[in-house]
Symmetry: C2
Subunit: 262 residues, 2 copies
């Protein structure tokens, strides 16, 4: 999954950022912390240690403390973080109090899966419209919504003031769908269609490509195999062969720790 990040850093006033420009990796972990915090709140917990929250969210506690420091949350020594306050801060930053309207374009198997995904409603989103270009699918009811024709996408997306458009169409039509969404005023797109969307600078695109996720895992399989199958010397030779010339160890690259999720 990749993020096409456009637009510049928020303007500053008196040296204070207009909006905290969090590292993308931190933004991506905030929903994990929020999910863990909601579970803790349901159990009646009022505070949580950074270690406890980190374990529940599947990250290491040093990274969690650094992430939350971006929100101005440092917790209290010996007490930890106030669960309710942290939930409020994260939901505010993520803008989840807005209960944003989402439309879904393309109701094949993936579209059906997305339309039926219960997790959306519980996490601050309303799927308000479904679209498909296939006349056989138009009129079909999925989770109480009638599939509408993509010819009406631009008009309806504008009427429903859609905030986020989800594209689950074949690659060939994804750009046209994105153009229609953008023409309707949508400025955030979640794209499941392989390929790169061309969008104006004010539009954020996140992309989920299932094959790319597998290729990233394939890298780790290859890495692990090269380490277990070969003694260091041979493995070094293989790595050098794989990457002739300088094969810089990732950790020598500034910012790696931020880049490497964990």
């Amino acid at each position: 999954m990749s993020q096409q990040r456009h637009g510049s850093t928020p303007g500053e006033a008196d040296g204070v950022p207009a909006f905290p420009d969090l590292p993308e990796a931190t933004i991506a972990r905030l929903p994990e912390y929020l999910r863990a915090l909601h579970h803790l709140a349901e159990t009646g917990a009022e505070t949580v240690s950074s270690e406890g929250l980190a374990a529940a969210a599947g990250v290491n506690s040093a990274k969690l403390r650094k992430d939350l420091s971006h929100l101005g949350s440092y917790g209290t020594r010996g007490v930890g973080y106030d669960v309710a306050l942290l939930v409020y801060q994260i939901e505010y930053i993520l803008g989840l109090d807005k209960n944003r309207a989402v439309c879904l374009v393309g109701v094949g198997n993936l579209g059906h899966a997305l339309a039926g995904y219960a997790g959306f409603a519980s996490r601050g989103f309303r799927v308000v419209a479904l679209f498909d270009a296939d006349p056989k699918k138009v009129g079909e009811e999925i989770n109480g919504l009638i599939v509408q024709h993509t010819d009406d996408l631009e008009r309806i997306a504008a009427e429903e003031s859609i905030a986020i458009g989800v594209i689950a169409t074949p690659p060939g039509t994804a750009q046209a769908v994105a153009d229609a969404l953008i023409a309707a005023g949508v400025t955030s797109i979640l794209n499941f269609a392989p390929g790169v969307l061309s969008v104006p600078p004010n539009v954020d695109v996140r992309k989920v490509d299932l094959a790319i996720e597998l290729q990233i895992l394939s890298f780790h399989e290859h890495r692990k195999a090269s380490l277990t199958a070969l003694p260091g010397g041979r493995a070094a030779a293989v790595a050098a062969d794989a990457a002739p010339g300088k094969a810089a160890p990732g950790n020598a690259v500034p910012g790696n720790q931020e880049a490497v999720g964990s």
Copy 2:
């Protein structure tokens, strides 16, 4: 989507990394470059400029040059990168020459979408087994594969020497499925079930949570709205309110540039 990264940095021999330990963000972009390079190769292109490849992959060219330098690919001034060589280098690093066996657990709507996803085969993976716990789904044929019962998952995954397991089950059963996959020798898991999997250090887990993707877009919607709706001063006050105490601008954090996809 998040990466639970376990295991330590590869051992080194003579100061050479046993395997290039690339930044996670770089690894995630390599498949994009590969897809763009395959398109170029189909058009008969033998070389490509960093700007041309960057545009085709939807990243900026400085980031692309840095990413490829990790592979020891620097291109030739005035000529660019050799398409065939770069394809070979990226496919080698990603281990795509292995044509890895993938199994899919959970054939609901999402599972059906994944099982029917043509992109897998074309990008170095074979879906060789499908599993579900629902007796009504067992025996169903999807894309030429018969859905088998999860009771047989561990045995079959071992027999088929599955490299990567894809979990598309409800959250409640994801951990049990992961345990069975790991018991069968699977060391890479792609998890679509919300929540955190507990896995041993040698197992890599990548996670795709659709609601999390939307929450990340919600952050950008919120950020954009706060910038357009409010003059700098007011916006700064809002940001300060959202994050009492220090609201560190992300770009002050080392490594942000790596963390922020683009």
